[in-house]
Amino acid sequence: MATETAAIHRMTEPGSMRRIGLFIPCYVDMLFPEVGIATLELLERLGFEVGYPLGQTCCGQPMSNSGDERNAAQAEHLFVENFKDFDCIVGPAGSCVKQVRQHFDTIEQTDAVQHVRQHTYELVEFLHDIAKVHDFPWAEFHHSVGLHNSCSSIRGLGLAKPSEIMETPFNKTADLLEKVKGLVLVPLDRPDDCCGFGGTFCVTDPAVSARMGIEKVRDHLRHGAEYIASPDMSCLMHQQGIARRAGLDIKFVHVAQILNGGPFPERGDAIQ
């Protein structure tokens, strides 16, 4: 992924970031709108002009990851249609962004498709590498937080050094979270072992998925995390479901919400 990151830097000088297309994954739209709101507000606070194409639906990942490229193609085409006129596209979801950048490769590679593939960013990498945000003065989060490093974000998009690779350690999400007043990141026994969501895997292989998920949550609990935070809400959705079923007292939050200072509907913040 090193060459991909280099490509991002080469192609996207900060000055050229005029109009951002806001990519809100389908499940965020329906289940976790606060993540979308936080992302939008955060980008606006940083001075970006943000558009939200109302016609967007889905990046096609559930179909594409199951090998069903034919049925993914319709969603992929629509995605490109919606976003092709933006300078860049930002979405608060590592797995969806990975899908766009790496797996929109079976549809015809028109100029529009290539533009969209090369200019779609996950929120953390956008903030860390492109916008180069050093401070979040409006944000406070006086809690112990366990960082869930999703597989898509670290092994797919290079947001952190994967534990298997022997190179200089780095973690872009941790870099950002460490700038938030009061936030304490807890260590974990298995920082980047998969949580078992895996898209449709969580319903096609439910027993294995549940074992993976509960052990991830327990790791966070063992280290005193009050919140599990991640750039990927899909992983959190899976772990949240498992935690609730097991009656475990731990909360889940997307990094966008932390970095923006809200909204936090779990705390009763209104989002009407």
Binding site: I24, V28, M30, L31, E34, I37, L40, G51, Y52, P53, L54, G55, Q56, T57, C58, M63, N65, S66, G67, D68, E69, N71, A72, A73, Q74, A75, H77, L78, E81, N82, D85, H103, C151, R155, G156, S163, E164, M166, D193, C194, G196, G198, G199, F201, C202, T204, D205, P206, A207, V208, A210, R211, M212, G213, E215, Q240, G241, I242, R244, R245
Partner: protein
């Protein structure tokens, strides 16, 4: 290719998990500990990632010149006094091996661990023809006595508790069923196997590497069982997959430094044995085996799987393998490497394996020869989908989803109708085991009172920000 029902890896994995709360946690713990040792060894070598690059490139070079290196190996091995045979498939391999043994009146064979011999289903073939075959590797012997295949290529019985092994040995080799001390059990197996080594008419090994430059093949073990089998009986037979070739002796430096660190977390196995021609007073036969490897070489998406050096690291790191166990795969090769190899032997039988993965990518990151295992798993899913091997329910729902996601008007309409339905659906329907696999293991997330899109339209539409409509 066959009329076998697909292996139901999901159900088998679930059975491994549900049998009790001892087996799966133990299995996961042991393999995770192996990974921690691997990480420590790898971190101690500043050149670790460089070694992986070199190993990958050496293998790619060898495979793209494979015919040259095979003939060079054959010539050099023959010059040193080995007899080299070629087997196109399982049948030819077994026939050749039987022929060599039968010609010399051998009735007892002792063998060391070889995945290739598993592939060839060699043991039953020989046993029905009057040749006793004894596994000498402890893990393999355990599995042989239990009538099961190995579940892991380095630790064949890692899925068993010591109590199970104690009961098995009591039943088969007459030990005390209540003594489950691994030291005692290992000693019992040592004393049981030793006379078989001494009585065997032939020893058989596989090979980790075969060096074209000198006609040498290398066998890495911890027990030294391959060495006993090669040094005591007068006849040594080695079967070697054609993809095991390396060009030169110096290449071994790269691979020996990666193999045991990756698979076990030690700098080397206890014994790394190099055979070049027969030993003094002995006879050596080498069987080079194709069995689909040359065909795989011609698959642009999958030929990189031939780089595999059978280290086992991908199994150790794979969370799905650690939780569900190796026997779930129902194939010679388990874990991530199994997912990408087994369909080349039987596409239909192993059509479900590529979905037994979260595509987390850890396997690709640990593979010492940098096989793009995770990407190949996804590509196999595409193959399975295009051949209609997706389970019917998935195919139908994806066709609907594909259509709906391609048409925003329909998508938004569906959101509007689905939302109230979900809010008001009775609990038993939502949490029904069959209808809602999500609900089997997890609570269902609440639908938001307002989607993001609705919030945006209410709060932003008239605020002067640009947006596009469809």
């Amino acid at each position: 290719m066959s009329t076998n029902k697909p292996v139901d890896v999901v159900t088998r994995a679930e059975a491994f998990i549900r049998q009790d709360d001892i087996h799966e946690p133990m299995h996961d713990r042991f393999l995770w500990a192996t990974m921690q040792r691997r990480d420590a060894e790898a971190a101690a070598l500043p050149e670790w990632e460089k070694l992986r690059d070199l190993a990958s490139q050496i293998k790619e070079h060898t495979l793209t010149h494979l015919d040259e290196y095979l003939t060079q190996f054959e010539a050099n091995a023959t010059k040193r006094g080995a007899k080299v045979h070629w087997a196109r498939d399982v049948a030819e391999h077994n026939d050749i091996v039987y022929g060599i043994l039968h010609e010399r009146g051998v009735t007892e064979l002792i063998k060391s661990k070889s995945m290739l011999q598993e592939e060839c289903v060699m043991t039953p073939y020989l046993e029905t023809r009057g040749i006793t075959v004894t596994e000498s590797d402890l893990g393999e012997r355990i599995q042989q006595l239990d009538g099961q295949p190995p579940s892991h290529i380095v630790f064949p019985a890692i899925h068993k508790t010591r109590q199970e092994v104690a009961r098995l040995f009591a039943r088969t080799i007459g030990t005390d069923p209540n003594n489950d001390d691994p030291h005692v059990l290992t000693e019992a197996m040592r004393n049981n196997a030793r006379p078989r080594f001494l009585a065997a008419g032939a020893g058989m090994t596989g090979a980790n590497f075969a060096v074209a430059e000198t006609g040498t093949f290398v066998v890495c073990t911890n027990e030294g069982n391959a060495d006993i089998g090669a040094s005591v009986p007068p006849l040594h037979i080695a079967n070697i997959g054609i993809e095991k070739l390396l060009p030169r002796v110096e290449d071994l430096g790269v691979f020996l430094r990666l193999l045991a660190r990756s698979g076990e977390g030690a700098p080397l196995t206890q014994y790394s044995s190099h055979f070049t021609g027969p030993r003094k007073g002995g006879e050596l036969h080498i069987v080079l085996v194709d069995n689909g490897r040359s065909r795989r070489l011609g698959m642009p998406d999958f030929w990189h799987s031939l780089k595999c050096i059978r280290c086992g690291a991908c199994m150790n790191t794979c969370p799905v393998y650690r939780r569900g166990g190796g026997l779930a795969y129902g194939a010679t090769y388990a874990g991530p490497i199994g997912v990408i190899l087994d369909p080349t032997f039987d596409e239909h039988k192993y059509s479900e394996l590529p979905f037994h993965s979260t595509l987390c990518g850890s396997c690709s990151a640990v593979c010492p020869v940098k096989i793009d295992i995770s990407e190949q798993i996804l590509k196999w899913r595409r193959v399975m989908a295009s051949k209609g091997y997706l389970p019917l329910a998935k195919r139908l729902s994806f066709a609907i989803a594909g259509h709906v996601f391609g048409h925003p008007g329909e998508y938004h309409a569906l959101q509007k109708t689905a939302a109230p339905a979900l809010h008001h659906a009775p609990h038993f329907l939502l949490y029904n085991q069959t209808l809602n696999p999500w609900g089997r293991e997890r609570d269902i997330p609440q639908l938001a009172k307002q989607t993001f899109r609705e919030w945006y339209l209410a709060h932003r539409r008239n605020n002067g920000n640009q947006h596009t409509e469809s």
